[in-house]
Subunit: 344 residues, 3 copies
């Protein structure tokens, strides 16, 4: 019993978005998760002897602006351990992990987003690109996976890798099945990761046609730490292919970012390009952020971002807790959030 660690994060901010919908209305509100995703969790590790360890990890998202908890793919308002709920066996062989967790093809390579996958500056490559109504298989954004058996290697001189298999649990068909992994190399200032995955999706319609098929993704990321500044880069392709059809719908995404320490703070700058080949449209996403650490556990932050949509592109800044949607095809959206994050 003494081995349980209770941990969490509460992050709130005041956010303003200028074109929060297709009518160009603006919205201001109490936003959340501008610097880190609010959560509460319980985890622990037990030493079994002989180099073997067992561990558990239960982590739930929560929305401190309204008190409910829908993060991490949760379906309803009540608290759920949807961010992570796993049991692990660890040893010299690495780690075997069972349950719901970040997909191995996301966990490591997403770290090259200098905005940490939250707030107005978050790199938006992991998304259900073909629309909420089109592909209803849960977790089709590629971030998390339920019913997963995963294996993570130990660190071999800087090399690490991870593999995951998510059961579809279907009696017929294979909707929901996931296979993915990554290989990474970390050495001094250099970090490189390649991630690949395939997800069987279905239950929706793409362009009016009932869709069942697969989504194949690859992501390459890297960073180099020059001490005064750290450079980050990401390149990604998501390809949807319907069973029985030739051709595929491609959505490419790229990011270039840098972080620079300034005293107790950190400046963050990132440019992302969302090249939506399937609809022949692009969006440019520029974000500037500053995080000032009041302590190891508490920080204040500000993020300013702009999304410039071209042609049919209709992406919004997608931050949490304020009622902001997308600005309409070809329209732009700007957002500013100033907030505080506390970890416990």
């Amino acid at each position: 019993q003494s081995s349980v660690t209770l941990f969490g994060i509460v992050d709130t901010n005041v956010s303003h978005v200028n074109k929060a919908n297709g009518a160009s209305d603006s919205v201001t509100g109490l936003g959340i998760n501008g610097n880190a995703t609010s959560r509460i969790g319980f985890r622990g590790v037990e030493d079994l002897g002989g180099g073997l360890k067992a561990g558990f990890w239960l982590e739930a998202g929560l929305n401190p602006d309204a008190g409910d908890g829908k993060s991490g793919g949760a379906a309803g308002p009540g608290l759920e351990f949807k961010r992570r709920s796993t049991i692990s066996l660890m040893g010299g062989f690495g780690e075997v992990r069972m349950g719901r967790d970040l997909a191995p093809s996301y966990a490591k390579v997403s770290s090259y987003d200098v905005f940490g996958q939250v707030g107005f500056g978050s790199f938006q490559g992991w998304k259900n690109w073909v629309g909420a109504g089109a592909v209803t298989t849960s977790d089709s954004d590629g971030i998390r996976q339920s019913n997963m058996l995963a294996y993570y290697t130990p660190n071999f001189g800087g090399f690490t890798a991870g593999l995951g298999y998510g059961f579809d649990e279907q009696t017929t068909g294979k909707n929901g099945r996931y296979m993915g992994g990554f290989a990474a190399y970390d050495n001094g200032p250099l970090s490189l990761t390649l991630a690949l995955d395939r997800r069987e999706v279905g239950g929706g319609a793409l362009g009016g046609i009932a869709f069942s098929g697969n989504k194949d993704s690859w992501t390459i990321g890297g960073s180099y730490d020059l001490s005064v500044v750290k450079l980050n880069a990401l390149a990604q392709q998501n390809r949807y292919k319907a069973d029985g059809f030739d051709g595929s719908a491609k959505f490419n995404a790229y990011a270039l970012g840098l972080t620079a320490p300034i005293g107790a703070g950190q400046v963050r700058l990132q440019y992302a390009l969302y090249d939506q080949k399937a609809i022949d449209a692009k969006a440019h996403h520029l974000a500037l952020g500053y995080v000032h650490n009041l302590s190891k556990r508490t920080a204040v932050y500000g993020t300013l971002a702009h999304m410039s949509n071209k042609d049919l592109s209709d992406l919004g800044l997608g931050a949490g807790g304020v009622n902001n949607g997308t600005p309409g095809a070809g329209e732009n959206q700007s957002g500013l959030s100033i907030g505080i994050r506390h970890s416990f």
Copy 2:
């Protein structure tokens, strides 16, 4: 991590209500929250140095009679931090608090209800007076507010004050917006508080007409401790005004109460008058309670109450966990509950 406090309350009782519905059926059951609202929470404070502190508070309601958790305005059965989910910065300047919390116009002034806003004796001024179907904006009872930025002053020689602003987060209109505050003076045996708020409400119908407008409330409360007995008083007005209409619907409420320590216990007596001007009807509410402390954390209690409705008034005793409704217009309702409360 070591700074997290896990806290909560479990309160259950056996309750009987004589006219639990319009057919004068009675109901007996396992009730909850007769002495304090059942809850579980996590909170902590971090000293940032220089007199500055950061804190978080996550508190969820729960219903120990059935194990679900719907308290504090929760929409579904799952656990939610709907009672309070805030992050604070505190210092010599007072406290800035962000998130969902008790409204500043409720938090302090409601303390003059000698039944602590729970059970058959609870003062019922904070209520959606115009009906559940009429004004659907959440939190229209005036107790809690989501998306709120609040400020609490330090104590200046007995004077304290608090202000809150709840964002509506609407792209058009302002339904859900809250502005409110209080000023209080506490000195020796005397305590006085004035609270004011305005809430923008809408999305329903009042008297068959689509309602969008505001609810303005003021509450004055005070207490004086004569040692052998402590006197309490409350006066409140809730005024609903539809946009574009003259006139308003008023609901006034008053309470006079006393508490008296008897050994390890406390006797409570309160009379409340609900003068529902808008429908020209009154209700008289009389309650007698006794709380016997078995320890600082555990108490047994009993509450006996009677609601006397006149004319169109149809108020019930509204206690938790038993299936009791209202007795019908002009009908009376009596209730008795005997229970136990344990804090941890």
Copy 3:
């Protein structure tokens, strides 16, 4: 505050079922609760002096394969203390317990199921035998009860007993009411328990006729520990009787099991017969399991089971977390699960 114990279990496995539906499709997936039901809880005891103690217990089910929490009769996906949410007063007189809990007629006597009421080998006597659509009163499986006042005796030289009364909280009728109890004798290698209960059920239809009536059950269980092997036996009858009709629908169930310690592990073998008198059909259920303890808190396990349905019987192995249904009337189902359980 220091008295709160945080506890829980995470249990996942890889499970395969050969005939998971009426079309004889098989399913393989990440299952849960093969050795123990996954949960998280908070409990504590306070010494009130004079031999009196107060305690609380809040325990929620959770599904680590997907991160949601529906166990213990929970209606939605969010975390709920549906496994147990009670407050107790304990002393020389025994224990008075209020809230939601295991029914006294289930808690003790179910321990003679050598598979601990989980996984493919679980004895299935506690079930809503007349179908999910037929009798919608919650908790009609006889396992748990809300709104319950229960009393447990102290141990009198090996004799113990418990009684529970669950309020229906109905203004008319008595659907949901529970009365039940047990008497047990434990002495050295011998353990014997008799349990009885009556539950008022309604709100559904039995054979196309609106059903309102009662479900009476009795269960006898016993075990004898021969050191090298421990023998277990269970016999049970569930009888549904509709108000205003003669006759009743009977469902009998029997189990014979044994456990044998082997080093750090335990072998389990159980045969159960479900004699569904009401539909004149039988099912035979055979299961073999092995649990290997890696520590007091962590174990790996495997369970192999076969359900042989005769005539109209259509029972499945009913394990958690994989999408397995019933094989169809008169069809058989086999299942294998291999997993890990960690307690904290």
